[in-house]
């Protein structure tokens, strides 16, 4: 049979983006639905795995290195992953971030690095990215609200980036800040949370190779509503730990403030590792609804990354340090 794996020619080289973005209408209108279904069943370019999907105005990455950390689970639909977002900086409803972030300008972008490190300073996004080879990592994402997705991120290990700032022995934790600018992030006009949004990791967690700084997803630059231009991805923790639109990284000796912990310490711990045995005080964490499915499935310890990360927490009472 002549049909081989579809990866050799980038789909973006064949189809111009407008046609591509309208592919659903195209398929529907031309009555080729059957062809589309057949193609997706056969794993031809219609299937999500081999397509780069870009939000309007976002660049598609050329070839990306693959990662051994990737899961082979079915990807969440691009439209779902980009229209169902928790990003209170652009509004509290799931649909708000996409609606309210389209005018958000992410270039130029710089990140201030300070605290316990040898190389503090303000770095442009380009400076931060330059030494790293971007790779695609397909991770599970488990939200504290008991839903989950499977997302192909584009980025590199957080630890590799942090090492370049040469944290000192006093750097026991690392803290991240989202941009605070209510003119650009209209959701910040209401004090739903204490702005700016802050998150933190213990330094050994931050240095774990699974922890990632992401600049893209689905083979293209991050859509604004998903945390452009630079966000954290910590796949074994609840989604809110994976802070978006980072403008500051700070190395600290003390455990830093994290926003949801500040809102309600009894419901959101500093660690917030995915843990089906510790319920949120208002709902169960035993199960989750994978976006795209009707029924729920079991939630796995550390979101299925226990083999890689459980050792970080040996000897810790995870019911106490939830």
């Amino acid at each position: 049979m002549l049909i081989k794996k579809p990866a050799d020619i980038k789909p973006s080289e064949i189809t111009d983006q407008n046609t591509y973005l309208n592919r659903r209408a195209f398929i529907r209108d031309s009555g080729l639905l059957g062809v589309g279904i057949a193609a997706s069943v056969m794993g031809l370019p219609w299937s999500k795995q081999s397509w780069a999907e870009a939000a309007p105005g976002k660049r598609v990455y050329p070839a990306l290195a693959k990662s051994n950390f990737s899961t082979d689970e079915k990807l969440t639909d691009f439209d779902d992953a980009t229209s169902y977002c928790n990003f209170y900086e652009f509004g509290t409803r799931k649909s708000d971030p996409k609606e309210n972030s389209q005018a958000f300008v992410t270039s130029p972008w710089s990140v201030t690095v300070d605290g316990a490190c040898e190389k503090p300073g303000t770095y442009t996004l380009e400076d931060i990215l330059k030494p790293h080879t971007l790779e695609e990592r397909i991770y599970r994402l488990r939200c504290v609200e008991a839903w989950s997705m499977v997302i192909p991120w584009v980025g590199f290990s957080l630890g590799d980036a942090l090492k370049r700032f040469q944290p000192t022995s006093k750097a026991k934790y690392v803290s991240f800040y989202t941009l605070h600018d209510a003119e650009r992030m209209p959701g910040q006009k209401r004090r739903v949370l204490e702005w700016p949004y802050r998150e933190g990791l213990r330094i050994d967690e931050a240095m774990h190779p699974l922890a990632m700084l992401a600049v893209g997803m689905y083979g293209a630059e991050l859509p604004n509503q998903n945390g452009a231009p630079l966000r954290l991805v910590v796949p074994w923790k609840y989604g809110f730990k994976s802070i978006k639109s980072i403008v500051r990284i700070s190395f600290t000796e003390e455990e830093p403030v994290s926003t949801w912990n500040q809102v309600q310490p009894s419901e959101y711990g500093f660690y917030s590792n995915v843990n089906p045995t510790v319920d949120h005080s208002r709902w169960s964490q035993k199960k989750e609804r994978r976006i795209g499915n009707w029924l729920k499935q079991e939630t796995l310890m550390f979101n299925g990354y226990a083999d890689q990360v459980a050792s970080l927490y040996s000897g810790m009472d995870l019911k106490k340090f939830f």
Binding site: D77, D79, D80, A81, S83, Y84, Y88, T92, K94, S95, E145, W147, R190, V192, L193, V263, D279, R282, W283, S284, R289, I291, G292, W294, L295, K296
Partner: protein
């Protein structure tokens, strides 16, 4: 046609169809794949919100509306709205029981016992059952008007339960549930005897005065 007949024969059937619209919209969105990334959540939220909206409309708004407009026949719409509220609450509960818990009774009971927002919501739903069950003319006759009315005072508790259920389940942005709570409180003020209400209304004073003025006119 008298005003009462107009309400019974025209307004009521029209309202019957209008109150089906939220469900029709959900069904339409379901078939056109427009329920969003998390359809179960959309269905749960929409059915819950409509149960609450109709409950507040029913329990609290009709009587003040009768007073303000002096169209007492509006009361004839109340039972139908109430049954609709129960209908949406039932859909809300079934979505939760079937799609969240696959009818796992142990898990549902655990939720009801352990999680206050479920406890409150489920109690409100349980209280709606006898109200819906006694909403026929026959049942009113069998119970007798007085006992029927007393039983149906439960609807205030259902409304409060619904609002608290909503308030306790949101993560940080309580604006929307607080709106419902405010509506509940404002409309409850109409239940107070006129002289007590005058003391409470504050910014609503002119509103309250107007309604009591209308009442006085009606009595005289």
């Amino acid at each position: 046609m008298t005003r009462g007949q107009f309400i019974s024969r025209v307004i009521k059937p029209v309202l019957f169809l209008v109150l089906l619209l939220p469900l029709a919209l959900l069904v339409e969105q379901g078939f056109s794949d427009n329920l969003g990334a998390n359809p179960v959540e959309t269905i749960t939220h929409q059915t819950g919100l409509w149960a609450l909206r109709l409950l507040l409309l029913l329990t609290l708004a009709i009587t003040p509306l009768c007073k303000l407009t002096r169209i007492s026949e509006l009361v004839r719409l109340r039972r139908m709205i109430g049954v609709y509220s129960f209908f949406y609450a039932l859909l809300h509960f079934m979505t939760y029981a079937v799609l969240d818990h696959s009818f796992d009774m142990t898990a549902i009971l655990e939720d009801v016992v352990k999680r206050p927002y479920v406890t409150v919501g489920f109690s409100a739903f349980l209280m709606l059952i006898p109200l819906a069950a006694t909403s026929t003319n026959g049942m009113i006759k069998r119970l007798g008007g007085k006992r029927w009315k007393r039983l149906h005072k439960l609807v205030y508790l259902c409304g409060l339960g619904g609002v608290i259920h909503y308030l306790w389940l949101v993560k940080a942005d309580v604006l929307s549930p607080l709106n419902y709570l405010a509506i509940f409180i404002v409309l409850m003020l109409f239940r107070l005897p006129d002289h007590v209400r005058e003391k409470f209304t504050g910014p609503l004073r002119s509103f309250g005065q107007r309604s009591s003025q209308l009442l006085k006119e009606e009595k005289s």
